[in-house]
């Protein structure tokens, strides 16, 4: 008897498919290898960004998020997404709409315009949760064919994956361990740094409002990693954080005249490497930092080639 493969609606969002497609490709490889099926969400839009649209107009934010949720409700499978922002919007909206009848009524009034209705029948997960809950750390570890032994990894878990803690009830946001455990399946060595749990600086519409202020957060994180003895790679579960930490280095150089050279990988890209895929099989070189600087990843730091 064969077990049915777990299935998730795959919510891509904006940044993964439109700016960091290497994450999308790596995700498809990793999920396929672990026997988890990803279903396309045809016609899904922006989540929409929680700190941006949630700050402008809560009802419109919840309505657009609810429209995305109805696409998955039609097929009856949970959603998974690889972006902390998308996760926050879809998870929070799903939760708030299930709890708050007044909000739900107002949102469904908007959705009636397009013949849709939020019913509250599905759950929303992040890739990290989807893989840990359906596959488990042990099976993921077994799939690792190229252990990243000796690679010193600094982690950036980001905010909306685990906060607000009282609402998400997932991990201890002061001492989180879930994301770290997934990253450690690769065999890489965890490097603690003081500002690990600090925000990358991009969220809440700050990157759009004042780029230099948002980069100042990022710069503090880099300094904190260096103060901890440096790292070979920074791993994050969020493409917006990845953009801020990756492309942000080019922008910091311009705005602050300081040069950092960190390779920044989404956890799906990091797992793809540990699963034995070559960087070219998912396009690691297309990170915007490398494209703009006309540089390449530090292969030797990642333990790949000299």
């Amino acid at each position: 008897m064969s077990m049915a493969r777990p299935k998730f609606y795959h919510f891509l969002g904006c940044i993964i498919p439109h700016r960091y497609p290497s994450i999308e490709k790596a995700t498809r490889l990793v999920f396929e290898d672990l026997g988890v099926e990803l279903l396309d969400m045809v016609g899904a839009t922006c989540c929409p960004a929680p700190g941006v649209f949630g700050s402008f107009d809560r009802i419109t934010w919840a309505s657009i998020a609810a429209r995305n949720l109805t696409i998955a409700e039609e097929g009856g499978h949970p959603i998974t997404t690889g972006c902390n922002g998308c996760f926050a919007s879809l998870w929070d909206a799903n939760h708030e709409l299930k709890e708050d009848e007044e909000l739900r009524a107002r949102v469904n009034e908007n959705l009636a315009e397009i013949d849709r209705e939020f019913k509250g029948t599905i759950e929303v997960t992040h890739y990290v949760d989807a893989l840990i809950q359906t596959v488990g750390l042990e099976k993921i570890r077994e799939r690792v064919t190229r252990p990243l032994t000796g690679v010193r990894m600094a982690l950036h878990p980001g905010c909306h994956w685990m906060r607000p803690r009282a609402l998400k009830q997932k991990d201890d946001s002061e001492r989180p361990h879930i994301f770290r455990e997934l990253c450690e399946t690769t065999g890489a060595e965890y490097v603690h740094y003081k500002d690990e749990l600090m925000c990358c600086g991009a969220g809440g519409a700050v990157r759009t409002a004042d780029l230099k202020v948002s980069l100042d957060f990022t710069k503090q994180k880099f300094e904190s990693i260096l103060a901890a003895g440096g790292a070979d790679v920074i791993v994050t579960p969020c493409p917006f954080c990845e953009l801020q930490l990756d492309l942000g280095q080019v922008e910091i150089q311009k705005h602050f005249d300081v040069k950092y050279e960190f390779d920044v990988l989404h956890v799906m890209e990091f797992l793809a490497l540990a699963f034995g895929y070559e960087p070219d099989e998912f396009g690691l070189k297309t990170h915007l930092q490398y494209m703009q600087r006309k540089s390449e990843p530090h292969w030797e730091r990642l333990g790949l080639k000299a």
Binding site: F56, D57, S63, L111, P164, A166, S214, T286
Partner: protein
């Protein structure tokens, strides 16, 4: 001797607190001003953004001062204050509610207006708006257009219907922005 009140407040707006509570910050009145929020705040560490001060001002009814302050937009919504607040004020939610009120009263940055307009126009805040992005996708072995709204105009139509119904398009001045962009494109052609 002339006596002065302990705090001088011009034009307090008694309805402001109720507005915040209704808009998404129901626990604002739990605040006892301990300052844990600002002590935990990475935005406050580098800008004049002060969560505690904003909440205090809001409780005093200083609506105009609060909603017009540019620093209101320095919160990255990291929720560290929310996780640490001993009074369950949910400061991040309070700030987001105050931002909603600010936007409704016309305080919105041009860059934010433009980002909002992108979702109405393309279905995505970060759209697939250049050939180079499609080529980037192809170079990693993906189809040039993903299955989201980028290749499905009907999905964008649905977003427009929602934002028209909710009044969001008027709120951000979508038509004006669209016309201005058209004019700019026309001039560039000439």
């Amino acid at each position: 001797m002339e006596t002065r009140p302990p705090i001088i407040i011009d034009e307090p707006d008694d309805s402001f607190v109720e507005m915040i509570k209704k808009t998404g910050g129901p626990n604002i009145q739990n605040c006892y001003q301990c300052g844990t929020c600002s002590g935990s705040c990475p935005a406050g560490a580098r800008t004049n953004y002060l969560v505690r001060g904003i909440i205090r001002k809001a409780l005093l009814g200083l609506k105009e001062q609060v909603i017009s302050a540019p620093e209101l937009w320095y919160c990255t919504t990291c929720y560290t204050c929310q996780d640490r607040c001993p009074q369950d004020v949910r400061p991040t939610d309070v700030i987001k509610a105050i931002r909603n009120i600010a936007v409704a009263e016309g305080y919105m940055l041009d860059n934010h207006r433009k980002t909002a307009a992108k979702v109405v126009e393309a279905g995505h805040a970060v759209p697939l708006d250049k050939d180079m992005w499609r080529k980037l996708r192809e170079s990693v072995g993906l189809e040039p257009v993903p299955p989201n709204a980028s290749g499905n105009p009907w999905a964008i139509e649905e977003i427009r219907k929602i934002t028209k119904k909710s009044g969001f398009d008027t709120l951000i001045g979508y038509e004006e922005l669209r016309k201005a962009a058209e004019e700019k494109a026309k001039k560039k052609k000439e």
